[in-house]
Symmetry: D2
Subunit: 404 residues, 4 copies
């Protein structure tokens, strides 16, 4: 059997981030073989390591597929081949052998040099345009666009594990309901204050559970204190918030007494009707109909938000974007350049947000269901913290810690 082989390089904090482990396991699992050329291990904690490895497989095709997978872990060919670009055969269509992007920082080898890729996100194609390189969603491709079709010409840089003293460096990827939430809240509070002080952007993804569990006022305080630069959500958060403000209930439960009122659903519809009368939430706030609450604070401080529609919406409110293409675009604008994204009890909107985020953006996910926290934390990077806890209690503890 003839064997095909190729020499690859990888550089970075290969060991402590587990990248070297991932590379060698991948070769073996895929049925290939390897020979280490050299491996210069970083002598100390601060130095990077460098690996040269020769990878072998039993056909050119299989080797090619293996190389493409290895590229996702930061391996690139020692003598990187020129990127191959092909024209899109039609709108919304890529050539069959298109390269599908990761969420890690990437570079393309073209015209004899490495070029950064812009608008990095998962599951996009890479398009060359006027000498620059961009991630583009399949649906945004136009007939004739120049699409990258050679994974060997890409090198990616998975984020190194954090070494600083922040909360991400010791909690990343761990999920447990058997943990002291207070110490975690303390650390997050410190981080958020640092982000705010440095002019960073904190974006929240929030579900209506924030309202049911009594977290509204805490979130309002966080908005007032300057810890919220955007909110991504759906129709329900706004309806429940406005229902609470206008009628004191949420999901049919009186939020003061905790007793069911037996007509919560009617209040739900009345809240929608009230906004419909004014034409929009902003208009209802301007008219003095809505005088407090999450949506009020957002309007008052002119903080951007997006309510994405869904198949389960009642109403929806006139502010809800019912077309998902538009909604994804609106989300994307709000999270652009976010420093931290905090996801509160909404798997749907959190996954939608996660799909757009490059791997180096820090995320914090809070949910009472450990399976949700695990799923959202799996971002192929050490930048995700998962907390299994009661969202209302969490928000109140956090607002107390960052408060004046």
């Amino acid at each position: 059997m003839s064997m095909e082989s190729k020499k690859l390089l990888a550089r970075g904090h290969l060991i402590d981030s587990g990248i070297l482990t991932a590379i060698l396991n991948l070769v073996v699992e895929e049925g290939g073989d390897y020979q280490i050329g050299h491996f210069n291990i970083g002598k100390t904690n601060d130095e990077e390591s460098e690996l040269e490895i020769e990878v072998t497989h039993r056909s050119e095709e299989r080797l090619g597929r293996l190389l493409e997978k290895l590229a996702r872990h930061g391996c690139y060919e020692k003598a990187a081949p020129e990127g191959v670009f092909k024209a899109s055969p039609a709108d919304r269509c890529a050539p069959d052998d298109f390269y599908s992007s990761t969420n890690h920082r990437s570079e393309v080898f073209s015209a004899g040099a490495w070029h950064p890729v812009q608008d990095q996100r998962m599951d996009a194609v890479i398009v060359a345009e006027n000498g620059s390189y961009f991630c583009r969603k399949l649906r945004d491709l136009r007939n004739g666009d120049s699409v990258l079709c050679s994974g060997e010409s890409v090198r990616v840089f998975p984020p190194a594990r954090e070494r600083h003293a922040d909360v991400f460096s010791f909690m990343a990827n761990s999920v447990s309901s058997e943990r002291n939430v207070d110490t975690v809240v303390e650390s997050i509070a410190t981080d958020l204050k640092t982000v705010r002080a440095s002019g960073g952007k904190i974006v929240w993804v929030a579900g209506p559970v924030v309202v049911h569990t009594g977290g509204s006022q805490a979130l309002c305080r966080l908005i007032q204190e300057g810890f919220v630069q955007g909110i991504l959500s759906g129709n329900a958060l706004a309806v429940h918030d406005i229902e609470r403000v206008l009628f004191g209930t949420s999901l049919g439960v009186d939020l003061e007494s905790g007793r069911p009122t037996h007509d919560g659903h009617r209040n739900h519809m009345r809240a929608i009707n009230a906004v419909n009368r004014h034409g929009s939430i902003h208009a209802a706030v301007a008219a003095g109909k809505i005088r407090q609450g999450i949506m009020y604070e957002l309007c008052a401080a002119n903080i951007p938000y997006c309510l994405a529609g869904s198949i389960r919406d009642d109403g929806p409110l006139p502010d809800t974007i019912t077309d998902m293409i538009e909604a994804q675009e609106a989300y994307r604008k709000i999270i652009e350049n976010a420093s931290v994204v905090i996801m509160l009890s909404t798997m749907l909107h959190s996954i939608g947000t996660g799909n757009m985020l490059p791997s180096w953006v820090k995320t914090i996910c809070v949910d009472i269901n450990p399976a949700v926290v695990t799923k959202l934390g799996d971002r192929g990077s050490g930048q995700a913290i998962g907390i299994v806890s009661d969202v209302g209690l969490f928000l109140r503890a956090l607002a107390d810690k960052v408060g004046p």
Copy 2:
């Protein structure tokens, strides 16, 4: 303190369905008082009971609100007042005191007689039009529509608990992961065969977990055998199904060997790209690109389906309806007159479907997460079965039981 009171009637299987219990508890919880006028209990299992009750509260306003809540349990005024209808003040807007509908069969008292309400669904308003009465969503109201504003003029008929020997009569509302799924599957199989034999309509709400857990072929067999008259889902089910058919993977896992392939996400995008090339799933099936699988069977048998978009969609496929208003309308058409709705591992689409369903449609919900099953089973009726189990194993067991 002056007290207000009113005499109400209720009729039906008040005891075994727990309706009488609900009525009396509601009066007490709301701070009212009652005096039983007479109560003719059904002497045997088949006879209905009849209740006359006088309800008292300390103000007309509070009494009115209480009556409206009681109406949802089937209590109506002995001398029912004429329905009060008011004109909508604007498109999408109801008068402030609009009546908000339940999902139970309802009648309106108008022009001296009781009239049935059509298009029954939750959270709608009731509109009078040419002497008929319809449920209408807030967003479909037009300026000047004649909207019911007096809950006292409505009587509702919560479904009685089933007494027949079908699976719904003994399993309704119970949820447990500690149960023998096989005996449940047996009963459901019997029911589905009865529905099919009588020309009934079985609609499925299915998430992509059907594919991941290896349930695709079983669902295909159920389609072939005539047990599927419609499928409600989202973009992901179709993408995962087509990815499986074209590449043998789902979510990056080889479905034969169970091994991760490390490029599942690329196959995901390639599946979307392949459909994009043909312009639609139907076209890809017609062109012979897709030759098996769930979407293939649906196209081949011309069974209606709807893929509703969501904020987390990749692609989406050209067949996915990205506007939620349109998608809700498409869902509604498919479930019209359904006899049974079976919900498989998708809370999002199942809640969307449940919102549209009148209370007398039977639902079966299967999910491995007990919280989802509990939430979906809470339909205010004895027509919902919840099963905590592995969806793939469940579907295979069911297909074996109903098979030829």
Copy 3:
């Protein structure tokens, strides 16, 4: 087919507690038939109802079994038959047709009169001794004991639904993670203060999650303030508490910083070793080795506790009762006459406790897993509250609310 029938009576708050619904459904589900003799419904909220019902079945044996089941819901024969007592054939053995008790208040008809049953608990037999009647566990039966073998001679009194303004009256049996825990905590705090003021007994069942989630200090404050009259637990709670006090860690996690220490398990064993050196927790406290924490507070205030062993114990501590018969007996003594039992994140010990409790004792169960809360709340009575929340945050909120 010859039919057998019998006239039964039931009295009490039959409707609002759902008992009447349960009775009629039971007859139908068991294949019997009924004829209502008369039903005097309580005219107002305070009056009891009275039901006379004739129940029919197709053989004496089946009717007998049905009557026994109906007895559990409070139905007794109009002309109650004399209780039949038979001698135990051997130690630990009942006659084959023994009556198995419920957890509801019960009376036995014997010598022409109704007699109360003492030591009421589930799954026991009823023994006559010197004209009194007792629940006794199978394993405590002795050869020749006089055991009740006629369920028709028993009448039980399921507790009526609470009508007072306490937290049990509006929250009973509801479980949700989507709820504002703060309002619930407020209500519980009020109830606990009432119980303490009236000299009632509050017993806690606590798992080690109390320590991991940072609830130790809150529980210590509750002990100091007089809200703890007993703790039922296992080996792990004490080991984790003492590990925390001596080394500042729990499960290998530093409780101050939240960081893993990588030798938590060693500290776990060192804590056990330290207690072993002194011979018991009380001795280690007396010697000044343990100077704070949950076990310290319990010893200092001389509050009874029981650590029941289990198959997964490390050590165990010398204080742990390793024999389960002894441990159950110790538990029973501590919960005797408890007014409220609060169960914190331990399904094992909570079920053990629940088995011993009569149905009229109020229970509050807090766990982050909704399935556990549902299981523990299912006590056939309206006396159980379930809260899905983070135990550490819950305890701190509660301690703040009841605090001085």
Copy 4:
């Protein structure tokens, strides 16, 4: 500040098992520093790697603690110091600075050479006796025993990640409810047949959920076919199994029809009473009272089992070992030299078993709750498979696959 340092060695499949990553991260997290002396990476998949590393910390005490933690990952001192042994100060007590063992294969450096440790298990001390070295539980220590007190003299060998084609090599440590259980079952069936063919020992840890979910007959077939060499469980499994055999119910649910029988709990007690009459399960089988079911098959084939008591037991059966020290000892004997341990829906008994198992024994854990599967799978080794599924359906699928 004076710095202390030490040179360490480690050898093995350091990279693909993630051990090297763990070592370097540990040094940094503990506040130490490192300098790589040399690192000979295995050039190919089969070669071991060798690391020489110098570790530095700011005090001798901190360095000592760091070394002890590093030892758990297989690092040992280049010039290993003689093991220090001290005498136990009392029964059940170790010297304060005792070494606490891992579940990995270990060696002790003593008398100038490395010696294997026998009876390897977690959380034990190492005792020298007649020139051999044993793991011993704290409670088994006797005054004067010679206990190892120097972690630097131990080297441990974490198991390498499997490279063979068995199910453990590709599934280890992954947990998901969104997976095709059928392909996993297929792989497990193949492995079990291999184990049986080679005379290996398969031990099952089984909870009563096996009976409730309809898995009894499948487990019986597995016993008959020779796939069960021992069962570890508690009182409940046996009671539910015998209740099913004698009365056809389990937890009050008819196992044929799935309908509640309303006296399940009575049957539960009758099953216990029946065994009590014969004195033991074996006697009841011998007397022909129990003629089928799990316990019958175990008795018939003379397969060892242990029913460990717990605080929540009803009865318990006379066969249940109510003392936990005895029960742990009985468990230990049954799992001795097990090749595979399969844990079915019982966290309590599975943790108890896991505590005793050395890290190289393969474990398979099946539970419908993902949190349980995650917890049990966390064994610090690549030898654990977790499956989130319905246990009854899983067992039937497995019995079908291995069947004749």
